[in-house]
């Protein structure tokens, strides 16, 4: 059941582990940019304590000795760029990564999809930089409110839940569906959570929030016999008798894939590598 790499942990001298993986690195140069620089938000630049720093020299910049927190920010930024470049997607505010290839084969794809993803953090512990990786299911809704109306859900039932829609600049906005109106055109009256204002939008741009409870509710309204909550429990190892071992194994799989597809991170004269042995806990 376990690969030889994974199996070694079961016969290892230690038996307690965390989902943290050491990063070994060769730190390259880091430059503090002059305040007049025009390249503040480029891919090579980080922001730290009111200043901009880049691994690439430019006119007016000064080489500095980077603090560990600066190294962490630089590595995080380059990790995200690399992960996107090799085909992963990132849900930024939640530190969640997934790939369209890791879709889980389930019915009702017109309504939702589930992907095998993971959550990550770069953390500093005992003056070392580590990557924390935790398997995480990613749920996406594929249906707009208009599609649900076309599937014969009573529009009166399409209200009182959270939704998402794209704003003017393509930015995704979270909101709350106050009501769905079907007249000549299907419209949604929504409250924008960010600005807290009410807007009326075409129903084809409004999508239900990707939450299992809500999707289950919609499936019930559609008369589709599928227990998404139970499936989510199963896929999250909640019902497994070896839940933690399953999660540990999955974590190692993800880390090995990252080692293969993403690391080493090379930029400027920096090189970052990922150890695939998890941190040991001594009690």
């Amino acid at each position: 059941m376990f690969t030889s790499n994974e199996n070694k942990f079961f016969s290892y001298i230690y038996d307690k582990f965390g989902n943290l993986f050491l990063l070994s690195y060769k730190i390259g140069k880091l430059y503090k940019k002059s305040m007049s620089t025009s390249n503040k938000g480029d891919e090579k630049t980080i922001y730290f304590n009111g200043n901009y720093f880049s691994y690439e020299w430019e006119e007016g910049s000064q080489e500095i000795q980077p603090a560990l927190e600066m190294i962490k920010r630089t590595v995080t930024k380059q990790f995200i760029l690399k992960i996107k470049s090799v085909g992963y997607q990132i849900i930024k505010k939640k530190y969640i990564i997934f790939s369209e290839q890791d879709i889980i084969n389930l019915p009702h794809n017109d309504i939702f999809s589930i992907f095998d993803g993971f959550e990550f953090r770069f953390v500093i512990i005992n003056n070392a930089l580590l990557l924390c990786v935790n398997p995480h299911l990613v749920i996406k809704t594929n249906c707009s409110i208009k599609y649900l109306i076309e599937q014969n859900i009573n529009p009166d039932k399409l209200k009182d839940f959270s939704i998402r829609y794209k704003g003017g600049n393509e930015e995704q906005i979270d909101g709350y569906l106050i009501e769905t109106i079907t007249d000549e055109e299907s419209l949604c009256r929504v409250r924008d959570y960010r600005e807290f204002k009410i807007e009326t939008l075409p129903a084809d741009v409004v999508f239900p929030e990707p939450r299992a409870e809500l999707i289950q509710h919609l499936l019930n309204l559609l008369g589709r016999d599928f227990d998404l909550i139970a499936k989510q429990r199963e896929l999250s190892f909640l019902d497994s008798k070896t839940a933690s071992k399953d999660r540990f194994r999955k974590t190692l799989e993800i880390v090995n894939a990252l080692k293969k597809n993403v690391f080493p991170l090379s930029f400027g004269d920096w090189e970052i590598n990922l150890e695939t042995t998890p941190i040991v806990i001594k009690l």
Binding site: N19, S244, R247
Partner: protein
Amino acid sequence: MSGKEIFLTGNKIENEPYLLFDKADSSAVHQQPYWGLRRFGPYDKSISKIRLAIISPKTEIGMVRNLIEELNKGTTIMPGGMPQFFRCNIDVIDEITIESIDTNEYEKAGISFVNKYNPKNIDVVLAYVPKTSRYFSNTPYYRLKAILASHGFSSQMITEWTFKNIKWSYLNLASAIFSKAGGIPWVLEGEMKNVDMILGISISNFVSYKNRAGSRPRYIGYVNVFDNHGGWMFMEGTATLYEKSRSADQLKELLTKAIDRFKAKKKFLPKNIALHYYKRFGKEEIEATRKILNQLIGEYSVAFISINDSHPFRLFDLKIDDGSFPRGWYVYLNQNEVLLSTTGFTPIATKRMGTPKLLHIRVKQYPKEFINIDEVVWQVFSLTKIDWATVTPLIREPVTLQFSREISYLTAAISEQDWQAIVRPEINVILNTKPWFI
């Protein structure tokens, strides 16, 4: 740096804390609520009768009646029923039946009930409602609870789910009803070290953020106050609805109320104070708290204890059958920061679910350290035993956070008017001595 070996160290709590089941008998102790209640009854034995009203659909009233009868008479899991486990009986004062399970029907029944009764004459309202997800706010559960609470009534909701697992539901239900009637089922046997007062604080919570009519969100805060035996003392909420996230003003209102009432009840000013919060304390919040404590107490020590579970950290013990990191074991991330497992392997509970979601505990202390990190872990761990809504031995969160979470579900769903009614002095004086929100 390359090839560096790195490890984390940890510690373990070997035994579950003992719980006390009699105010007057210090030998009435057990580690598990179930056995403690079964042998000794509740900590507070002064309640002999609980006056209960029922609100239920006509179709379910028979089941609800049976439930009460069994609670009084006893069951295989709860032999001797309420008289044995809580030293009291449930007396049904009234039954209100409704025709359907529509939210409107429940609202009508709730309004007619609060117009008919004085909350001083009814201890708890037991309502049968359809099972709905907490995700939705316009449900019989939230609407009825809000109407009852805003008129000073504690309520206990039951659903078809209660009856599906009825054998084990009895005792949880009995404990919740008993505590909502003002009883204290159990407390910690020993005092938690170096602390007089523990506050489970929650600030900047939206009120009815989903469907409120106004143009801007409003925020409120609340605090649950516990003594050093983990006994819940009271809950206070902000009477003001704040614009934007004015956390310092919310803290001022809450801390002033909490310390005044603590002093009135305990007859002394707390000197060592622990604040539990599910988020990280911000600089502004710490400064505001210290300023208020300077004014109210003068000489004091305060620990800001952030207890967070929204993080990706996980720990594993491959020696355990399921690989879970055992309950009570913790790992130091640094001097003031640990990861604590509360739902991993434990000999007191065989049923576990999933990988333990660890508690990430971070502590900041002022003016200097007065409690060490191991004592903080013991404090948090002990408080996982004090949720009176359940007798389950395996509770993940300390009650300080659990109670805050329950209130936040409610406040997100109820209206500003409901909240303002709940914290009105004449209602507050009835409600805040009972954990009506659990």
